[in-house]
């Protein structure tokens, strides 16, 4: 048996002829030894990670993202029929957008949240009003979701809120589903801060 015949017979070379070849060929013996060590390591790893599971929120997020991908691929074939129309519609939309951009002064896209004086409208954000009643809830009636490892807001501690625009991928931090195709888009979020300046909870506005 030569080397080629030995490896062609894998994964079942465990016969007298195969064992004899390993005794005669140092190269194949070394390679066989490396392969056995790798298999043993993978087996140990498989055993060690047998009980490891993703948190329920992450699992839900992955399932939701998978379903949205499936829906996307189902509709893909349908969309192909509309390519010419879509191309012309896109061109028309680009023309309109270009005209608007050239005619109107530049302003931030989130201007509808900013009033004339530059302040923001956080009327719905009343962390104080709901804080005491939401002690045992993972999320509260005001829509704030606790950040992983966030500390308790202590009695007597002040709380403030900032509104920021963050990458949509930030939603993954609290286990919300994110469409992989939109992961780099921006989304508005209210972040609740403790008196130490650390973020405690987040609420996504859009």
């Amino acid at each position: 048996m030569n080397c080629q015949e030995f490896w062609d017979a894998r994964p079942e070379p465990d016969n007298a002829e195969g064992r004899q070849h390993l005794l005669e060929c140092d190269e194949c013996a070394r390679r066989m030894s490396r392969q056995q060590r790798l298999e043993a390591g993978l087996g140990a790893l498989r055993q060690e990670w047998r009980t490891v599971e993703a948190p329920p929120r992450v699992e839900q997020g992955v399932v939701a993202a998978f379903r949205s991908q499936q829906a996307h691929s189902r509709s893909r074939s349908l969309r192909h029929a509309w390519v010419p129309l879509f191309t012309w519609a896109t061109a028309a939309a680009c023309l309109v957008a270009l005209a608007l951009l050239l005619v109107r002064p530049h302003e931030p896209p989130a201007a509808h949240h900013i009033n004339r004086s530059g302040g923001i409208e956080l009327a719905a954000v009343q962390p104080a009003a709901s804080a005491a009643t939401a002690d045992d809830d993972e999320s509260s009636s005001d829509g704030f979701l606790p950040l992983p490892d966030a500390q308790r807001i202590a009695p007597g501690e002040s709380v403030n809120v900032v509104r920021v625009e963050v990458p949509r991928s930030a939603m993954l931090v609290v286990g919300l589903p994110v469409n992989p195709e939109r992961v780099s888009e921006l989304v508005e979020a209210d972040v609740m801060l403790g008196s130490d300046g650390l973020a405690r909870a987040v609420r996504f506005v859009q």
Partner: protein, 247 residues
């Protein structure tokens, strides 16, 4: 031909997009506004100014370490007004690589108003004073697991002030969260009855790492009154009204 026209139009529209949107860094976020929320407990006749420094240290499985420090400047006057200057770097996980401004929050129980100031564009958001809730709010889902054992610690001096200490040790039994061995977390807190403020908090959790928050550079002098007022050249808007209250 049409394809090239379309590509040209799209490129032109992209080039016409405004640049420099509020100092957002690559892959980061953008600051839109702030609102002072629930005030802390009102403490009178104990003025101070200090820095509240929070250090978090996380050791990864490969021995690598992540160390972060956040410094918040805090002030309180004899009337119980408070001012905090927060760098917003505590938003790290949500918006890494961001260039957020320092935001100033003023809680004024005398005037019955709260303000959030953005020094970068000299704007302020005013919100009405709201009564404090008695309870806290548990945002630590992990903290609820296990059995907590509180204990008092012998008094000691922290940052030159006499402090009372408490320690809460929580043990999560093996198997409760899929853990092979029990997990022990420790929360140690040192409080100054004189200044009526927490001076030092140490938290240790093998799943998260260590977090130490300490009040340093404490001055007990009365802070300037102007620190608790909105500067005259700021534009002030009422929160949640949709219209500005310019002054």
């Amino acid at each position: 031909m049409y394809r090239w026209i379309l590509i040209g139009l799209m490129a032109a529209s992209m080039a016409a997009q405004p640049s420099g949107r509020g100092g957002r860094g690559f892959g980061g976020g953008r600051f839109l506004g702030a609102e002072a929320g629930m005030p802390g407990r009102v403490v009178k006749n104990a003025p101070y100014s200090a820095e509240l420094v929070t250090e978090t240290t996380q050791t990864l499985a490969d021995g690598n370490r992540i160390h972060q420090t956040i410094t918040v400047h805090v002030y309180r006057d004899s009337e119980g007004r408070t001012r905090t200057e927060e760098p917003l770097s505590g938003l790290g996980a949500l918006a890494p690589n961001s260039n957020f401004p320092v935001v100033v929050f003023i809680h004024d129980p005398v005037a019955g108003a709260n303000y959030a100031l953005n020094p970068r564009n000299k704007t302020a958001t005013k919100s009405a004073w709201m009564p404090r809730n008695r309870g806290g709010r548990d945002f630590g889902g992990r903290g609820r697991a296990g059995t907590a054992k509180p204990e008092s610690l012998p008094g000691k001096t922290v940052e030159g002030l006499a402090a009372e200490g408490t320690r809460v040790t929580t043990v999560i039994p093996a198997g409760q969260v899929g853990n092979e061995q029990p997990i022990q977390t420790v929360l140690e807190r040192w409080y100054s009855p004189d200044l009526q403020v927490v001076l030092l908090v140490k938290q240790s959790d093998p799943r998260v790492g260590e977090t130490v928050t300490r009040l340093v550079n404490i001055s007990r002098a009365e802070p300037p009154r102007s620190l608790f007022e909105v500067p005259a050249d700021y534009k002030v808007a009422d929160a949640g009204r949709g219209r500005g209250a310019e002054r």
